[in-house]
């Protein structure tokens, strides 16, 4: 541990010394130029940063264009029901539908567990069971779930209670008792659309598909924070995940809705508790085993998102560190492009979104604020902001149309760029630094308000 930490600090020291050596070299080359070292240094640093930000802007434009194009291709493909692989199993006949086990992990979900399980009983599918795993709750989650289990006659509802061991442990427990050939993992506070099982199961006609990621939408659209998150989810899923689905390389199966072949879960060893993003870790393990992952936009999980700033930061902090932990766990794929194939690109893309993007946005803001205050070039900041906002608005408009969402959500793209991203990115940057330093962290749980 100490050696690893020493190596990290050594690497950072080496990077800093390298930068200074580079600057000193440049200065020695232009030593005859008039001006002090400080002015020269400032000019060079500003020139390097502005060059980097230009490259970053180019990467963003390319990223948005590629994502929109690929997601549109996926949209067309799903519209015309084109298939790449010849189906070996037919899941369209009512009688041949395989059994699906819905695993609902619940820790202190008392206010929401009953409506959540009741909504599951309404799902349109003839052959499924529900397993509620009470993860050592200290409230009345178990009793409330048991009430539903006793009421239910047509659909089997089982409630298991166990010592608190975290979400990953609860999901593994659910998987181990599942009787279905397929397992749908979700959150205790999630409400699923009625067609979820029928829509997801069709993807498994392709024997190479090991898991299906569902669509996630915000239920509690009650204030500016939750409305911006609603747009963020729509953008993330309609654009990024659809594009990934077209390439069959969805990199995160969301916790609120993911369906798996039980055999695949067993093959990869289920969930592990060594990261704070167990869903991301599991997804990477499935991809590393050579399975493909599909995305089903019509299977929707409605979730409650943080409605206050501090809860939101807590959630994003955990996500950022969790994704970095998962990426580090599978970091061997970062350096083996030939043997890892597409997983190599997935991991690098995750690092781009998890580290490079927030760092660059914060760097851009600091740079343009400095230039604006120091040199009076405030318009530069304005044009930087306008360029990013145009990208956001275009992406938001496309996603709202594709997802058939409420049009007013597009207006939140401006608010998203004006203050939301700045605040979130600062939390992401600090989370990255803390993850790098190995700062201890706790899971943290969003207090449910029972909005289902």
């Amino acid at each position: 541990m100490a050696v690893k930490r020493l190596a990290r600090y050594g690497a950072a020291l080496f990077a800093i010394v390298s930068v200074f050596a580079l600057v000193a070299f440049v200065y020695s080359q232009v030593g005859n130029t008039k001006g002090s070292f400080g002015v020269l240094l400032e000019n060079y640093v500003l020139a390097i940063i502005s060059g980097y930000l230009l490259i970053f802007l180019g990467m963003l434009i390319f990223r948005y264009a590629a994502m929109i194009l690929l997601s549109f291709m996926e949209h067309l493909e799903s519209m015309f029901k084109r298939k790449r692989a010849t189906p070996q199993v037919e899941y369209r006949q009512e009688i041949g539908l395989p059994m699906v086990t819905l695993v609902v992990p619940a820790y202190n979900e008392g206010p929401v567990i009953q409506p959540a399980v009741r909504s599951l009983l309404e799902l349109d599918y003839p052959n499924f069971e529900i397993v509620v795993v009470d993860d050592g709750s200290t409230d009345d989650t178990y009793e409330k779930a048991m009430v539903i289990a006793r009421e239910s006659r047509d659909i089997r509802v089982r409630v298991i209670t166990k010592r608190n061991g975290g979400k990953a442990d609860a999901l593994n427990t659910g998987m181990s008792v599942a009787r279905g050939e397929f397992v749908l993992n979700m959150d205790g506070d999630t409400k699923l659309s009625r067609n979820t099982l029928r829509a997801c199961i069709l993807h498994f006609e392709n024997p190479r598909i090991g898991a299906v990621a569902g669509n996630v939408k915000v239920l509690n659209r009650e204030n500016i924070w939750t409305n911006i998150q609603a747009l963020e989810y729509v953008e993330g899923l309609a654009m990024a995940r659809k594009a990934q689905s077209f390439m069959r390389v969805v990199n995160i199966i969301p916790g609120p809705l993911g369906m798996f072949r039980k055999s695949v879960l067993q093959q990869v060893g289920g969930y592990e508790s060594d990261t704070f993003a167990e869903d991301c870790d599991l997804t990477l393990k499935i991809l590393m085993h050579g399975w493909h992952i599909a995305y089903e936009p019509t299977a929707i999980a409605w979730v409650e998102t943080p409605s206050g700033l501090l809860d939101l930061l807590k959630q994003r902090y955990r996500w950022t560190r969790g994704i970095l932990q998962a990426a580090r766990k599978h970091s061997h794929a970062l350096w083996r492009p030939r043997s890892m194939g597409v997983n190599f690109y997935i991991l690098w893309y995750m690092l781009f979104e998890g580290i490079l993007w927030p760092f660059s946005t914060v760097l851009g803001n600091i740079f343009f604020v400095y230039v604006g205050v120091q040199y009076g070039l405030v318009t530069l900041l304005f044009y930087w902001w306008v360029q990013l906002t145009v990208l956001d608005v275009v992406a938001a408009a496309y996603c709202v149309v594709i997802e058939e969402e409420e049009p007013w959500l597009v207006l939140y793209a401006v608010a998203l760029r004006l203050f939301y991203i700045n605040i979130i990115d600062i939390a992401k940057v600090i989370a990255t630094i803390e993850e790098w330093r190995g700062t201890a962290m706790t899971w943290g749980k969003l207090e449910r308000e029972g909005k289902l």
């Binding site: 050592g136 700045n422 605040i423 706790t442």
Partner: protein, 73 residues
């Protein structure tokens, strides 16, 4: 001042403001996270040491009885 300059000033002020809010909110979130959760006096699930124990699962302890012998007919 032209419109661009006014908008640019607005963006400048907003950017500085949100960066300050971002850092402040992060500090507030960390401080809130560090606070020890207060224990509910009336929480019946708390043990004598104040720790939470599962209340629905009783550990199975096999009885230590001698194996029954079968009498020969």
């Amino acid at each position: 001042m032209d419109l661009i300059s006014i908008l640019a000033t607005v963006i400048l002020v907003t950017t500085i403001g949100t960066m300050v809010i971002g850092i402040g909110a992060y500090i507030a979130f960390k401080l809130r996270d560090k606070r020890k959760p207060s224990k509910d006096k009336f929480d019946s699930t708390l043990g004598t040491q104040g720790s939470n124990e599962p209340i629905f699962l009783n550990r199975f302890v096999p009885a230590t009885t001698v194996n029954p012998t079968i009498d020969a007919p």
